[in-house]
Amino acid sequence: MADALSGEILVVVEATREFGVKKVTLELLTLARTLGEPSAVVLGGPGAAAAMADRLGEYGAAKIYAAESEEIDAHLVAPKATVLATLVQRVSPAAVLLPSSQEGKEIAARLAVKLDNGLLTDVLDLDGDGVATQLAFAGSTIVRSRVSKGLPIVTLRPNSVTPSAAGGSAPPVESLDVSLTDADKLARVTDRVAEQKGSRPELTEASIVVSGGRGVGNADNFKLVEELADLLGGAVGASRAAVDSGFYPHQFQVGQTGKTVSPQLYVALGISGAIQHRAGMQTSKTIVAVNKDAEAPIFELSDFGVVGDLFKVVPQAAEEIRKRK
């Protein structure tokens, strides 16, 4: 039996320029508080930590380690892993927690190799004995696993923990030395391009997701999906068939080869519910579907299903929500 976790827990902060500290970071801090004392690790460009200190403190960070350098911003992932590995070796934390985003997993991957240490990705929970809960095979299998070599390096699936504030204030910031090797600077980021998304919440973080499938018919009709999402304050998602047909951009694809979402409410419009689609939305708390085929598999997992034409049901629902507002 492993010793119970205690002591310092490093939480790698993820933030966006648009929205600041991401919700998953607050989830990580909330989880870290159940395991030990959270320290936030900010890896970013100059000035990154100061802008986030209040928020990180509010959610329980007792300390912030800040590695701020143009070099970090200008290169892909590797510098972050190098700085983090140096920190881990110096402070010997009880665990390192990261978001299960593409970048979070990539930092974890490099860290694991540098430290010759195990890692667990896409976990829903980590208990005090270091045992993580994961879902495998499109959510059909519950797996309990643990790192058996080294400290737990764990990435958390967004929306797995309800973030709760601890009421702390901005903690002290310790700035970290950023000393990189040539190998850290091989992949240079030459441009960052923002694509349309408007003011909607980010897909993996949203508490409500409204997705459209092939049944939506064409790109123009996706306005219906967007309208319902906006009325509910949610994000827009799409099935692979909708993405492949060019109705909606790929970054909004939900499913096995797209994003995994775990919102409070998932609304599936004109989506049949193929196993690969379910893989990305199974853990949603409440699922609602509109599909004209009464036999569509999506109904097997829907808490509320309407068998009907989405072009009639959705506009009526939108109108009803407006009335109630």
Binding site: L76, V77, A109, R110, A112, D116, V143, E300, R324
Partner: protein, 259 residues
């Protein structure tokens, strides 16, 4: 430009998949196995680069005996040869150990470019590409939806939450691709016939300089403690639209406090 394409054989994601009850590993024996879908995009991308720039393409797989079916299928799309790392000691290997074996195998090939899928559908971990880059001391350009090769400079568009990043590196490098990058070709009859004669090298772990204790269960850095089938979600209420379906939908949402 010499290219190594990583191909993993995985259980078909559309069919029933299980973990074994005896040793908690993926049940590959009773599953219907296929090439990891994303790896087909990696093969296609390699073929397009070869068509434009020449060089040789080697398929690299670490996996059980059965994986040779997937290797033949990969070769039938056009690559020149393959390396299949197969050893009973590998059973139970974690991602950290897998990356050690793949890196050692890549090290013996004179690769300018390693292309792989962004993630495998069995474990969905998305970690192998950066682990390889870390071990090989070369660049990783991951999550590519577009790849351009100019001389020895590689440039990718990497999908992010907010849009995309343009990332560039000199060869040698690892590039991982999403399914938006291209449309994989189907093997032709000629390709299928030719694949039967293409060389498949089978190095032993010793040839790779990897000790059995570093891989498999002995070398694993993480372990499955237990696993169980998740009870399927049960469907709730289902109504047929009688002209008031939208209103009823909102009534449900309101009862759950979403409206």
């Amino acid at each position: 430009m010499n290219i190594v394409v990583l191909v993993k054989q995985v259980p078909d994601s559309g069919a029933e998949r299980n973990l074994r009850s005896d040793d908690n590993t993926v049940d590959r024996a009773s599953a219907s196995n296929v090439i990891n879908e994303m790896d087909e995009y990696a093969i296609e991308e390699a073929l397009r680069i070869q068509e434009a720039h020449g060089g040789e393409i080697t398929v690299l797989t670490m996996g059980p005996e059965k994986a040779s079916e997937s290797i033949r299928k990969a070769l039938s799309m056009g690559p020149d040869k393959a390396v299949h790392v197969q050893d009973d000691a590998l059973h139970g290997s974690c991602a950290v150990a897998t990356s050690k074996v793949l890196a050692a195998a890549i090290g013996r090939l004179d690769a300018d470019l390693v292309i792989c899928g962004a993630e495998a559908t069995d474990g969905r971990v998305q970690v192998i590409p950066h682990m390889l880059a870390e071990r090989l001391g070369i660049a990783a350009l991951t999550g590519a939806r577009k790849l351009t090769v100019e001389g020895d400079t590689l440039t990718v568009e990497r999908q992010t939450e907010e849009g995309y990043e343009v990332v560039t590196a000199a060869t040698p490098a690892v590039v991982s691709v999403w399914d938006t990058i291209n449309e994989p070709r189907y093997p032709s009859f000629k390709g299928i016939m030719a694949a039967k004669k293409k060389p498949v090298e089978r190095p032993s772990l010793a040839d790779l300089g990897v000790a059995p204790a570093e891989v498999g269960f002995d070398g694993a850095t993480s372990e499955v403690v237990s696993h169980s089938k998740r009870p399927p979600r049960s469907g709730g209420q289902k109504i047929t639209d009688d002209g008031e379906g939208g209103v009823k939908l909102v009534e449900f949402l309101a009862s759950e406090k979403f409206v």
